[in-house]
């Protein structure tokens, strides 16, 4: 693909305390939301700093918006917007002053900056607090102001580091909606660091799953599930646990990879949908009552926890 907005290869960074990132290779296409998903210490923030040319890598290459982040950093940063983990607002200034300060540093002429600042604060529901010092703001209000600040100069690429951490459910929903609209309506590319599966699931086109500096999976949720498991899961509801000989009979049907007992039925894994009728027929033939048989897409949680489990097994081995 030549149309990548961002691509990096073998990105590695060590700190005296250990390796923060080890050989990361990912890419992002225009207008795409790519989530960096991983627990604390996974290397998400480090990745963001590296890709925006703020931190230099020990190894690896990257091209972001066609630029080398470490040689053309200022050029790159003129076209990216960042929401850092803690909003990084100056507490001593008002919301408007914080934005005006950054607008000036970004070289946006005052005549353009002034209406833009009000427009953004208004859009993020912060217009009524524009002239209040940030000191008294809640976490959610800070995130909104910082998000507005990241958008001042209409960046082509946005780095958002845990945009919803510390927010209540309503504020989380609002911020997630905002981010969704940024990508969808305005065609910006977004790199979203998060450890919330729900947020990644709602917003991300593709996700990179990181554990302690290693990339364990990268792709759409469906792709990731496909890499983890063959076929689909089918839950057959029988109203009671299955007998042992029913289980072994189901397991021998062509196309059925696996059949495990549940409290109220069977969870079977089939290579294709075509095996589902045979599965149901076998249950009926065994004298069972079939209340439901539903093929089930693995949820993002399933995918994530399976990757995590395999990562741990890999680390243990």
């Amino acid at each position: 693909m030549t149309d990548a907005v961002l691509r990096c290869q073998g990105l590695t960074r060590h700190f005296p305390s250990g390796t923060a990132l080890d050989g990361l290779t990912i890419d992002a296409r225009p207008g795409e939301v790519v989530a960096l998903l991983g627990p604390n210490g996974a290397g998400k923030t480090t990745t963001m700093r590296l890709l925006n040319g703020v931190l230099e890598p020990d190894a690896g290459t990257a091209s972001v918006l066609g630029l080398d982040p470490w040689r053309q950093g200022d050029e790159l940063r003129a076209r990216t917007g960042v929401l850092t983990e803690n909003a990084g607002l100056d507490e001593r200034l008002t919301a408007r002053e914080n934005l005006a300060f950054v607008a000036r540093l970004r070289g946006i002429p005052e005549a353009r900056a002034t209406p833009r600042i009000m427009e953004l604060l208004d859009r993020f529901g912060m217009a009524h607090r524009a002239d209040v010092r940030v000191q008294g703001f809640s976490t959610g209000q800070r995130k909104r102001v910082a998000l507005a600040r990241a958008l001042l100069h209409e960046p082509e690429l946005l780095f958002l580091d845990e945009p919803t951490s510390g927010l209540d459910p309503v504020a989380t929903r609002d911020v997630v909606d905002l981010i969704g609209s940024l990508a969808q309506e305005q065609g910006r590319t977004v790199i979203l660091c998060t450890h919330f599966l729900g947020e990644a699931g709602r917003l991300a086109d593709r996700m990179a799953v990181l554990f302690s500096g290693h990339l364990h999976a990268f792709g759409t949720p469906t792709q990731l599930a496909g890499e983890l498991w063959t076929g689909t899961e089918v839950r057959v509801e029988l109203g009671r646990p299955p007998g042992a000989d029913l289980l072994s009979r189901l397991g021998s049907i062509p196309g059925v990879v696996q059949a495990v007992p549940l409290e109220d039925g069977v969870l079977a894994r089939v290579t294709t949908r075509e095996s589902v009728p045979a599965l149901v027929a076998a249950c009926v033939a065994a004298g069972e009552q079939v209340f439901a048989a539903e093929p089930r897409q693995p949820s993002l949680e399933d995918v994530y926890f399976e990757i995590e489990a395999r990562a741990k097994r890999g680390a243990a081995a």
Partner: protein, 266 residues
């Protein structure tokens, strides 16, 4: 260098210094006390003719005693204290002010968690560094010059009945103020930059910085009066040496103030 970026950073820092009572009060209080109240008190004391300072003067080393004794008896207290002994204050003030401000702008940026924001902006490391140098250097120098002006005015007015002439500033004094005091401010700054890069917050920077700056204060106290006695040429030379050391420290500071190493310490 991007002037508009430097101006913006400078305007914010200077504005914040002005708004901050924690910075403004000590910065104004100490110089006022040292540079206004002290000369006023000495001047008033000298008007009391009964005061006999000659015995004290005779105990001073000959180098200081002789030039003071060359003046008529009435003027001796004034010449001794205001003409020579307060001189160190004019170096301590820029040194202290620049240390406090440098700690605030360099370590404070980290402590306030605003440094990462700046690093993610299209602002070059050098512009950021230069802005921070200026936001420390300009106020420290301004305060010492303003302080000296006020000191001269107060001294001349209060001492007029005794002196009957404008006795301050002398040529050597002017060199101390215009050449040496800014050099000392730059020196304090150079030291604090190095210290601030290493620490987490302003308080640590001030503690560690205080320990490093203190010897300079001691040198200033011990030697400045001597400089005034030694005359303009020596004062110029000493000023040049201090400037050189300050310049080396600050150039090294600029090399250390690199984005990636700052980001690695966030």
């Amino acid at each position: 260098m991007n002037r508009s970026v430097i101006r913006t950073l400078l305007a914010r820092d200077l504005g914040m210094i002005r708004r901050s009572r924690a910075l403004m009060l000590p910065m104004l209080f100490l110089p006022t006390l040292l540079l206004v109240i002290l000369p006023a008190a000495i001047g008033l004391a000298a008007r009391e003719r009964s005061l006999d300072v000659d015995r004290f003067i005779e105990m001073l080393p000959g180098g200081l005693a002789d030039p003071v004794l060359a003046h008529p008896p009435d003027e001796r207290l004034i010449i001794l204290v205001l003409g020579y002994m307060v001189a160190p204050l004019f170096l301590i003030v820029p040194l202290m002010v620049s240390s406090v401000l440098a700690a605030d702008t360099f370590a404070g940026e980290k402590e306030r968690k605003t440094l990462e924001t700046l690093l993610h902006l299209p602002v070059s490391d050098r512009d950021l560094y230069v802005a921070k140098l200026l936001s420390t250097f300009i106020p420290s120098t301004a305060i010492s010059w303003l302080g000296f002006t006020v000191f001269c005015i107060v001294s001349n007015i209060v001492c007029w009945p005794v002196m009957g002439r404008i006795f301050l500033p002398t040529g050597t004094w002017m060199i101390v103020i215009l050449w040496l005091a800014p050099a000392v401010a730059a020196l304090g700054l150079g030291v604090m930059v190095r210290v601030s890069i290493r620490v987490e917050n302003t308080q640590e920077a001030q503690q560690l910085g205080g320990a490093v700056v203190l010897p300079f204060v001691v040198i200033a106290v011990g030697q400045t009066t001597g400089l005034l006695l030694a005359g303009p040429v020596v004062t110029m030379a000493v000023g040049s040496v201090v400037w050189l050391i300050a310049a080396l420290l600050n150039i090294r500071g600029m090399q250390l103030y690199r984005r990636s190493s700052m980001a690695a310490r966030l």
